[in-house]
């Protein structure tokens, strides 16, 4: 019926209503999708975390905070929290340093534009490949009989089962994550470097500042907003990494590389402890939201 009406000259009132309603109609599909696929699931998982035997038991009884107590007192959870902190801190720091180093190299005027374009494309490559590919590739490279050990043997090192030894596994998966993630920083920092006016460096040079001082007092302050927002984004995403760990080590050996994400996944889909897994998932959500809070606050300050 409403469709037919639009064929006739529209009454003034309806046209006016449509004009007022237009923006709401435009956002409606997005809001409806995000509400049903986000608000409902998040309320559901919070609800599950307060039940006993959610998903598996019909009419699961209320459990209060039992699931949270169980998760927080589980040594495997504490270990995964520590591992995640190490994994995130090392990854973000190394992403930043490598990204800055590569961006500075690419920002040189001493090398022609074509070689630089080729180098830039090569530097971006690790970021292009999907996590599953990166994970299986490094399983091959880190194999005890693999090429990493072969190269290290020239330095007199003994063969190491990088991903299979609990002493090296967390370092190895962190290294893989660093290798595959630094281009994200590199691209943005390079864009930032190229917007620094040449006069700034020139002025500092005239004032007698040497290269390192110029880098520290001119380049870094200029890049600071980008560095802060990238680091926070990277921390959010790295703390949620799952595929890399699951395919390379599965969280093992023991709980050497167990992260919050793999811990939660294992509780839910290997042990069918959906209630405890939900409690753990809510804790992960709270951590992410804290980081997101800092990120949004940073964006708002920059916007001002």
């Amino acid at each position: 019926m409403t469709l037919k009406k639009t064929w006739r000259p529209r009454p003034r009132g309806a046209a006016a209503i449509l004009r007022v309603a237009a923006p709401y109609l435009y956002v409606l599909p997005a809001v409806a999708l995000l509400a049903s696929l986000l608000v409902i699931p998040i309320s559901t998982v919070i609800g599950y975390s307060f039940l006993q035997g959610a998903v598996t038991v019909r009419n699961a009884p209320f459990a209060g905070i039992d699931n949270y107590v169980a998760v927080l007192s589980d040594p495997r959870f504490t270990a995964s929290l520590g591992n995640t902190a190490i994994f995130v801190a090392l990854s973000v720091a190394a992403h930043l340093l490598l990204g800055l180093a590569f961006a500075s190299l690419l920002n040189t005027r001493l090398v022609g534009a074509l070689p630089l374009a080729i180098f830039r494309a090569i530097y971006l490559l690790p970021w292009v490949f999907t996590v599953a590919v990166v994970a299986v590739l490094w399983r091959l490279l880190f194999d005890p009989a693999g090429v990493v050990n072969y190269l290290l043997s020239f330095l007199g090192a003994d063969a190491v089962a990088w991903l299979g030894d609990s002493a090296t596994a967390l370092g190895a998966v962190t290294f893989i994550n660093i290798w595959s993630g630094y281009p994200f920083f590199m691209v943005s920092l390079l864009a930032g470097l190229q917007t620094i006016p040449g006069e700034l460096h020139e002025a500092a040079r005239v004032d007698g500042a040497h290269a390192l001082q110029r880098f520290w007092h001119v380049t870094i302050p200029h890049l600071r907003p980008v560095i802060v927002s990238m680091s926070l984004l990277d921390a959010i995403w790295t703390s949620q990494q799952f595929a890399l760990i699951w395919i390379t080590t599965g969280g093992g050996p023991g709980n050497a590389t167990e992260l919050l994400s793999t811990y939660t996944y294992r509780l839910a889909f290997s042990q069918y402890q959906f209630s405890q897994a939900s409690a753990s998932a809510v804790i992960v959500l709270v951590i992410s939201m804290l980081l997101a809070f800092f990120y949004v606050r940073h964006l708002r300050r920059e916007a001002r």
Partner: protein
């Protein structure tokens, strides 16, 4: 002058060291995919295969199950991309051209939604997908992926639309057109480069997704490429040349986009960090 030459030498050394760090592992992947499986762990290892062979590729492409992984990834990727573009364009249009109630609240929610951890949504999604009979189906995966692609797409499209002058849509309205015609006749064609970036980014997100593909599908005929690559490790334990061949093949769409559409590829990558 001498200092200049030394500086240039240092930079070249740095550039080459960086290229080895980034490129050698990938060269190794390609090289391993062209070896016989017995040569994979040959000592000393050789970057150029001794018995150069396409056998691993023939084995992968000769197995219909693997081709099915590609088909599934393409179906899901295309559907997610089209739906995301449509819904995100409409929403971004509202944000960039209209003032309305709850505008900033909704915008805030969309930005922070990007930080919601996938693992948190996995358990309720699993429950919902099973309840609605979408377990092990394309629709289940497509709906799931929209949650992750939509917020970013909206944020990017807002920045593209906001950069376009308002005179463009005013002209349409003066000619008696509605905001709807202004969007589709004028803004969308002009914002095509932006839409391309969003489309690429969205498609790649879907192509690369692993956690939900692993959990929400069950049978091998519904698996996507990332899960397929991992399945290969379980099946024929350590046919490394085939695993590497599958990895190369599964990366081809991404590489094609990267090589030929690098500008769009990078603007998708950086939009979230620099422009905001």
């Amino acid at each position: 002058m001498k200092g200049r030459i030394l500086e240039r030498l240092a930079i070249w050394l740095g550039l080459i060291a960086g290229a080895l760090f980034a490129g050698l592992p990938i060269a190794w992947m390609v090289s391993s995919s062209l070896k016989t499986n017995s040569e994979i762990f040959a000592s000393p290892p050789r970057l150029i295969p001794e018995d150069f062979t396409w056998d691993a590729y023939a084995a992968i492409l000769g197995n219909p199950e693997n081709l099915r992984f590609f088909f599934n990834s393409i179906v899901v990727g295309v559907a997610v991309t089209l739906l995301t573009l449509l819904v995100a364009t409409l929403a971004a249009y509202a944000f960039s051209r209209f003032e309305f109630r709850f505008r900033s609240t909704i915008n805030m929610v969309i930005v922070s939604v990007q930080a919601v951890p996938p693992i948190t949504l996995l358990i309720p999604f699993f429950g919902l997908v099973v309840t609605f009979g979408l377990y092990n189906s394309y629709l289940g995966l497509i709906l799931t992926y929209l949650v992750f692609t939509m917020p970013y797409a909206i944020v990017m499209m807002i920045s593209y639309f906001s950069a376009l002058p308002r005179e463009l849509d005013e002209a349409v309205k003066v000619d008696g057109g509605t905001s709807w015609t202004a969007l589709w006749r004028v803004l969308v064609p002009v914002a095509l480069p932006g839409l391309t970036s969003v489309a690429i980014y969205t498609f790649l997100q879907s192509w690369n997704e692993y956690l939900f593909a692993l959990t929400l599908t069950q049978t091998n005929d519904m698996r996507t490429i990332p899960v397929g690559i991992q399945l290969l490790m379980g099946q024929n334990t350590y046919q490394w040349n085939q695993i590497m061949a599958m990895s190369v093949l599964g990366s081809i769409p991404v590489l094609v986009i990267f090589i030929f559409l690098q500008r769009y590829f990078l603007s998708g990558l950086t939009a979230g960090s620099v422009k905001s």
